[in-house]
Structures are given as structure tokens and as C-alpha cells.
């Protein structure tokens, strides 16, 4: 088993009018919760999309769970999953139908039992028969999480996992993710704007700006390094300091 969950070397993504990712290199150890942190346009979602195989990079190497993501993504896709509040599940299918379709796509053997277990776990049993389009934001997030956990992923990629959730639901989701990771020893890599969420969940933070990784460390290490009191202040400092993008951290 590879020791690294994610290994990215000199990753570049150019669009005709912009450079989204500008030669980043990083790795994520197995079993940790890491975050890509940065402002809008920093390259977080682009990096996640490349890791998921949804986007082809201009150049660079990407290994996920020991496999070359660019050449052998079908060997690794069954072992990972993804959740984002910005990518909906089909609205007119019920929650159960959606989960059944995805369970089949992952080739799960005991689909019905797996869905029942997850539904109980994520407290979505009451609306399994409801169309996915008729759920509240909090319910949608839990259903999306159920979809993302169907195949018991070794690597879970999350894009803004608690965006547009009220504080209570957001806290519930964070607690769930903490306990799920502790139980399964899976790796989580999330892109987030929510600093308190990152401070609470992540042991490793990669600060991105203008397509580069400009710093990296645990939340506390970053707070100490910049002489701030919380991660939000570190984020603001990096976002507003023009020299930082010129001096990427090694």
C-alpha cells in the first residue's frame, strides 16, 4: 500500500486566458485530513477537479492512492469519492433511487443494506423516498455525503462541505466527518473558505494563491508562523500581501 494518498508534481493547468494552477508540487499522507485554502481563483477547485480525473492538466504528474491518475484513473476511481454542494444529484429521482444508481455504478454487492446503514448513520432515512430536488440545503448535504461514502472511499475529496449550511447543521456535518475519518482511517482533502472548519478538522493546510501553494503547515504552525491569533487572519494576510505569491514555500 502506498504511503501517500496524493502525490502531485509540477502540476500546471493553463486555460486560453488564465493560468489556474501554476506548477504546484505537494503530497498528502494517508489517513490525514488536509485542506486547500485560498481565495476565489486560487486554484483549489481546479486542483480537486484534476485529482478527480474530471479535468486534464496541461502538464505535471498526479498519483492518487499509488496510481497514476492521468493514465489509470479507472483503477483508482472506485476507491475514492467526492462531494460538493455545487454539484447536485438529479432532482426528480428520489434519494433512494439516486443512491441505488450510484451504488450500482460503484458495483457494490449489498446495495440495499449499504444504503439503509448509511441512511441511519446520516439521519436521512425519513426522506429516502423524497425527490432529491425537494430537500433542504442541510438534507441535500447529508444525502450528498451518503453518495460520497457509498463505496467506503479511501480518499474523500470535499469542495466546501458546509457551504450554505446553518451553524447547527454545519457543526453536525463536521462532527460526522471527524468521527467517520477516525473510524475508517481514510484520507480527506477538502477545499474550503471556512477557516474555523479547517482549524477544527485539518492537520495539514496548503495555502493557495494565484495557482500556487504559497505556504503549508498545521493550522497552529501557520498561525504561529505569521504571528496571528487564528487561521482567518493568516488567510487575510496571505490574500492581501502581494509579495507572498512571489515567494512560494518549499
Amino acid at each position: 500500500m502506498a504511503a501517500l494518498a496524493v502525490e502531485v508534481v509540477d502540476l500546471v493547468k493553463h486555460y486560453p486566458t488564465a493560468v489556474a494552477v501554476d506548477g504546484i508540487t505537494f503530497s498528502i499522507a494517508r489517513g490525514v485530513t488536509a485542506a486547500l485554502l485560498g481565495g476565489n481563483g486560487a486554484g483549489k477547485t481546479t486542483t480537486l477537479s484534476i485529482l478527480l480525473g474530471l479535468l486534464l492538466p496541461t502538464s505535471g504528474k498526479v498519483r492518487v492512492l499509488g496510481e497514476d491518475m492521468l493514465r489509470q484513473r479507472y483503477r483508482v476511481l472506485p476507491r475514492m469519492n467526492f462531494s460538493s454542494p455545487f454539484v447536485d444529484l438529479p432532482h426528480r429521482l428520489t434519494v433512494r433511487q439516486n443512491l441505488l444508481v450510484y451504488a450500482r455504478l460503484y458495483g457494490l454487492p449489498h446495495r440495499l443494506e449499504r444504503i439503509e446503514d448509511l441512511a441511519r448513520d446520516l439521519q436521512i432515512t425519513a426522506f429516502l423516498e423524497r425527490p432529491a430536488g425537494k430537500l433542504s440545503a442541510g438534507q441535500k448535504t447529508r444525502v450528498a455525503l451518503a453518495k460520497a461514502l457509498l463505496n467506503e472511499p479511501e480518499l474523500l475529496l470535499l469542495d466546501e462541505p458546509t457551504a450554505s449550511l446553518d451553524p447547527d447543521t454545519g457543526d453536525w456535518v463536521r462532527s460526522y466527518l471527524e468521527s467517520w475519518r477516525a473510524r475508517t482511517r481514510a484520507t480527506i482533502l477538502m477545499a474550503s473558505h471556512n477557516m474555523s472548519e479547517v482549524e477544527r478538522l485539518c492537520s495539514d493546510v496548503l495555502m493557495m494563491k494565484a495557482g500556487r501553494i504559497v505556504d503549508r503547515g498545521s493550522p497552529q504552525a501557520l498561525i504561529d508562523r505569521y504571528g496571528r491569533t487564528n487561521l482567518e487572519e493568516v488567510f487575510l494576510h496571505i490574500a492581501r500581501e502581494p509579495r507572498i505569491e512571489l515567494e512560494p514555500a518549499k
Binding site: 486555460y15 477547485t45 481546479t46 477537479s49 478527480l52 480525473g53 474530471l54 479535468l55 486534464l56 479507472y74 476511481l77 472506485p78 475514492m80 469519492n81 467526492f82 460538493s84 454539484v87 447536485d88 444529484l89 438529479p90 432532482h91 426528480r92 429521482l93 428520489t94 433511487q97 441505488l100 444508481v101 450510484y102 450500482r104 455504478l105 460503484y106 458495483g107 425527490p131 453518495k147
Partner: protein, 269 residues
């Protein structure tokens, strides 16, 4: 069956199930599938009854217009059925979820083709069956040639549908209108209701490049003379191979291009 083939078939079935759930979730949509072919059949059935006593062309074979309209619907519904299932994914902004699963693009295409066939059969069968008591005409009396005509037109519909889906992947949802319009450009050149000889000479050359023209000429040959033109069938099938190859190429090139542009996550209304 090897494990990989079984897994692949399982994923195709998963996608097919997704479209069947969708169809089941809305009875107006299911009704719409039956509505237009039945309405067309009624209009052309009454028209045929009128022309039967007023036109020597229809008098030679009563079913010539009815069979034409039903076979044309195979081509039209075949293309539309594929494009609609594809558009459902666009409207649902679901590609970002689908393509982080082990689903291969060709498996998705296989499910789109299967769903297209189901939609065509659901739409056509009631109309074809209703024509029997209403006009004492059964399209099934054509026998095996009907199966060949059906297959040729369905494959051409798929080819067109794949190319249209590719264009939508390339151009975005602004191009979705193509799904409802492009097929009609084939109608006048395919000579659905009249012989190829009706067209001006230069357009006849264009017409003979379409598999559909061979089908409708072949259909008239069966109905008027009772002769099944196998030469028409084989030419049509050969052209089908070319068109489905082109349609698939457009689709897969556009799909890979969408991966390069990052459009799979953003594609939607």
C-alpha cells in the same frame, strides 16, 4: 462472462435504471412519448383514407404514407430519445458526479442508446397497434424488411444524436435547440413521402448519401411491388457504419475536449 464485462454491464444498467426512474417519475413525459406518434398516425391515416379514393399513388398501396410517417418517427425518436437522456444529465448538472465514478464514457453512451431504443418502442408501438383497428393497416405486415428498416433508421438516429450531444458538449446549453431541429433537415432529402425522382438531379445525389433515403425507397418497393431490395439494405447499413463512426467520433472528441476545458463540472443550465 469476465468480471470486467460484468462490471461494465452493471454500470450500463445503472445508467439505464437512472433514465427509467426518470421516465417513471413523470407521467406527462411518458404520455408525451405516445402522444406525438399517435397524433401523427391519426392525421396521416385520415389523409391516406382521403387520398386512397382521390390519388392513384396512395391507391397503389394504402399504407405508403402511414408506413412512411411511422418509420420517419423511428429516426426522429431515435435521435431525440438519445439527446433527451443526455440533456437530462446537463439539466441536472450531474456529469461531475457521474464521471468521478468508474463509469466509462462508452458505457454512458451504451445506456443512452439503450434508452433511445426503449423510448422509440414505447412511442411507436401504441401508434402502430392503433392503426390496425382504425385503418385496417398493419405496418407489421411488411414482415422482416420492417425490422431491417427499423434498425437502419435507429442507427442513423443514434449517429445524429451522438453528433448533436457532442456539439452541445462543445458549445454548451445554448446549442440544446439542435436536439429538436437538426433531424428535420434530413426529412426533405430522405424522401420520406415521395420518391427520390421527385428531387432535382443534383439533390438526388445528396439524397443517396443518406441511409434513410434507401429505407424509404426500399419501403415503397416492398409496398408497391412486394420486392425487398437487399441492395438498398446493404448500402444503407454500410452508410450507417460511416455515420455512426462519425457521430461517435464527434461525441468522444467533444467529451475529451470538455475534460480538457473543465466543462464536466460546470456544464448545466
Amino acid at each position: 462472462m469476465s468480471r470486467e464485462i460484468r462490471s461494465s454491464a452493471g454500470r450500463v444498467w445503472a445508467m439505464l435504471l437512472r433514465y427509467l426512474y426518470l421516465l417513471r417519475s413523470s407521467w406527462p413525459r411518458t404520455l408525451e412519448l405516445l402522444y406525438w406518434p399517435t397524433l401523427q398516425m391519426l392525421i396521416w391515416g385520415f389523409m391516406s383514407q382521403f387520398l386512397y379514393v382521390n390519388s392513384s399513388y396512395v391507391f397503389r398501396a394504402f399504407g405508403v404514407l402511414l408506413a412512411a410517417v411511422m418509420l420517419w418517427d423511428v429516426l426522429f425518436r431515435g435521435q431525440l430519445g438519445l439527446s433527451m437522456s443526455f440533456l437530462e444529465e446537463m439539466w441536472a448538472r450531474n456529469l461531475g458526479h457521474l464521471f468521478v465514478t468508474p463509469l466509462r464514457p462508452y458505457e454512458w453512451v451504451a445506456s443512452l442508446l439503450s434508452m433511445s431504443m426503449i423510448r422509440v418502442l414505447l412511442g411507436m408501438m401504441p401508434a402502430a397497434l392503433l392503426a390496425i383497428p382504425l385503418y385496417h393497416y398493419s405496418i407489421f405486415s411488411m414482415g422482416l424488411p420492417l425490422v431491417a428498416f427499423f434498425a437502419v433508421l435507429l442507427i442513423l438516429g443514434w449517429a445524429l444524436g451522438l453528433a448533436i450531444c457532442g456539439l452541445i458538449l462543445r458549445q454548451g446549453m445554448g446549442a440544446e435547440g439542435l436536439a429538436w431541429t437538426v433531424v428535420f433537415t434530413l426529412s426533405p432529402i430522405s424522401c420520406v413521402y415521395y420518391p427520390v425522382s421527385t428531387l432535382p438531379g443534383w439533390l438526388q445525389h445528396v439524397a443517396w448519401t443518406l441511409p434513410s433515403t434507401y429505407v424509404f425507397e426500399g419501403m415503397r418497393a416492398v409496398l408497391f411491388t412486394g420486392i425487398f431490395r437487399t441492395d438498398y439494405l446493404f448500402t444503407a447499413l454500410a452508410l450507417d457504419v460511416v455515420y455512426i463512426g462519425l457521430g461517435a467520433a464527434v461525441f468522444f472528441i467533444a467529451f475529451n475536449n470538455a475534460r480538457r476545458r473543465g466543462a464536466l463540472l460546470q456544464m448545466g443550465e
